[in-house]
């Protein structure tokens, strides 16, 4: 049975090149399966198909933790896909070092990626030993507070303009039967929310000291103690969320069952899909309205080394398609993220995205925690904060002590 299918597969690879001059089917794996995300991927596929090649979609639902082992096994097992999503930063480092990934420097030089990609740190994350191994596609920032205007109206209070007002409004929301702050049960959401509180309350420098320099003392210091105080408030306000997925939590904000949510700008795609308008139906506060700084993590595509020449050529076409100005605009509008090139026109962007672009232009940016910390340290942080948010008997002081320990051993 297998021999026959192998023969069939062989026949196909032999026949195809004769039929179509330089077209190839490329399998692209990713974990973008929520409504907004899928719509955004469709834009990438459309643009790539227009080059005469064909995008074979290999979506694996269930966020990176389900998809990543599959991607890594297939690459190390010698049967790689043609391109794959990773959060950019340090996730794929070792695959590159093992010589399993393709060097994109030629394409990058030809298309002047160094000049067009802003901020430069994005391309730095793709660069290992002076060679470029990935194509960044978007900038995602974590530092947003999304508020449901309807929920506040129902509770009879004004929509808050910053974190402190939000905390003050919490009792009124609770009285109206609304969960003030939706925090989904997946561990990364609690950890992410804490990072956001840190930038907003302790500021950019402390953030850099703790996560960038892994300064244990700063992590145990009074500035971070304030952040844990705020996290304690957040914990109290999130009681009764009872959902797992981030977009279910976002949905609580959309339907007015929750007052707000601390979530990255990808939440915007969900608001858009639900037909809501920034400003009238929901409000967004970058940096929690306290400290307008955004992080510049994001997604990138990596290209495993392939033996097939046709496909290798098509990989180049895909890489340049991803950074094409038109693709960048179409993709990022749907995804709710910011484009990686500074020279594209985002006239169609809504209020929230414009705020983001503004902050980006001012240079009020920090690196994302995915870029600063290893996946291992991130996971330990997630364990800590998911426990903290679920367990009211854990004091902020204890949590801070454990946090400092994680930072001390972080790499």
């Amino acid at each position: 049975m297998n021999l026959r299918s192998f023969a069939a597969a062989l026949a196909v690879t032999v026949v195809l090149p004769l039929g179509a001059a330089s077209a190839a089917d490329l399998e692209v794996t990713h974990w973008w399966t929520s409504g907004g995300e899928a719509a955004a991927v469709a834009e990438l596929a459309k643009a790539f198909d227009a080059t005469g090649n064909h995008w074979v979609d290999g979506a694996i639902a269930g966020s990176g933790s389900t998809a990543r082992p599959i991607m890594v096994s297939r690459i190390t097992g010698g049967d790689p896909m043609a391109a794959t999503q990773f959060n950019h930063g340090r996730q794929a480092e070792e695959l590159v070092e093992a010589g399993l990934m393709r060097d994109l420097t030629d394409v990058a030089t030809k298309e002047k990626w160094k000049e067009i990609i802003k901020p430069a740190s994005l391309l730095d994350s793709c660069t290992i030993d002076g060679k470029i191994y990935c194509a960044p596609v978007n900038i995602h920032s974590w530092q947003w507070l999304w508020l449901s205007n309807a929920a506040f109206k129902q509770a009879g209070v004004d929509v808050p303009k910053n974190w402190d007002e939000f905390v003050a409004a919490a009792p009124a929301l609770e009285k109206a039967g609304i969960v003030p702050l939706a925090v989904g049960g997946q561990p990364w959401q609690a950890a992410g929310a804490f990072d956001v509180l840190m930038v907003a309350i302790a500021g950019k420098d402390t953030f850099q000291k703790v996560f960038g320099d892994k300064d244990e003392e700063a992590a145990a210091g009074p500035e971070i103690a304030k952040v844990f105080k705020a996290a304690d408030d957040a914990r109290r306000m999130s009681k009764g969320t009872n959902v797992q997925d981030w977009n279910q939590a976002t949905n609580m904000v959309i339907t007015g069952k929750a007052g707000g949510q601390i979530m990255g700008d990808w939440a915007q795609g969900e608001f858009q899909l639900a037909g809501q308008k920034a400003g009238t139906d929901y409000t967004c506060l970058p940096g929690l309205g306290v400290n307008e700084v955004i992080s510049t993590g994001g997604d990138a595509f990596y290209f495993p080394l392939l033996k097939d020449e046709e496909k290798s050529k098509a990989q180049e076409a895909l890489a340049s398609t991803l950074l094409n100005p038109a693709t960048q605009v179409a993709f990022n509008l749907k995804k709710g993220s910011l484009p990686v090139r500074g020279d594209v026109d985002l006239a169609a962007a809504n209020d929230c995205m414009k705020k983001g672009l503004d902050i980006l232009a001012k240079g009020n940016v920090i690196q994302g925690t995915d870029q600063l910390l290893s996946a291992d340290s991130q996971k330990q942080k997630e364990d800590l904060f998911s426990e903290f948010f679920a367990n009211p008997s854990m004091t902020p002081e204890d949590a801070q002590k454990r946090f400092a320990d994680i930072i001390a051993s972080a790499d």
Partner: protein, 319 residues
Amino acid sequence: MPEIVAFNTIAAGIEPEVEKVQARATQVGPRGRKPRRALSGRNIMIYGTLIVVALYYLLPLYVMVMTSLKGMPEIRLGNIFAPPLEITFEPWVKAWSSACTGLNCDGLSRGFWNSVRITVPSTIVSIAIASVNGYALANWRFKGADLFFTILIVGAFIPYQVMIYPIVIVLRELGVYGSLTGLIIVHTIFGMPILTLLFRNYFAGLPEELFKAARVDGAGFWTIYFRIMLPMSMPIFVVAMILQVTGIWNDFLFGVVFTRPEYYPMTVQLNNIVNSVQGVKEYNVNMAATILTGAVPLIVYFVSGRLFVRGIAAGAVKG
């Protein structure tokens, strides 16, 4: 020949054994005490307990079916135990043919035949190998066999996830990584401990005299296996099949890790439908997808559940 000498000494004690075999052969169906009057206290207790238990087992299925027939607005309003006010088959259609994962909007239908292509050969190969193992262990023990078997049983306790890397390496070296053959090998490996144990215990429980008599007649390893052991082993083959069909059909991890997308089983789509949320979770579609994915093992159960009991009787009669 020493075998014959050994046989003769045992043969003296064979008479009562044969009677026992015949006694088994005449029994068909359940035993235990003879039922008394229909409405005795004992019967009320038995049926009462069984009915309560059956309700507990059926409750989730009931909820699944009811939910899959409701529209989303009704689900949001309501009581999960209430029957649908308005029956709709849309969730079923959607789950089968149009639910999306990423860009592929063809629901579960995409993976159905792949699941069949994976499950059928994997089940057959793994059962064939494990039954021969069990037979060798029960009737033809050789030095060291127990050691290998002990390792195998301990292997049943290893979490699958830990073995991903070593197996990727082995399959890569064999040159079957990403192929259907590779996946069949993986299922055979992970099915082996429990199946071998099942077959070994079953064969060891068959009357020894049959085996010995065949040996005296000069029958060898394979002849005895095919002529005597196989026909007597329907029930255990049915149990093994139930275990394997269920395990392999429901497998998600191996299906995605060890193959290419063109072989992805139905569970991959199920996972994608259940886990990719488009705004609100579409519980009705999830439930329909769930039932559809479970349909094949369920049908196997309905059909083979009867064989399970009949198999025991038939096995004894033929013996």
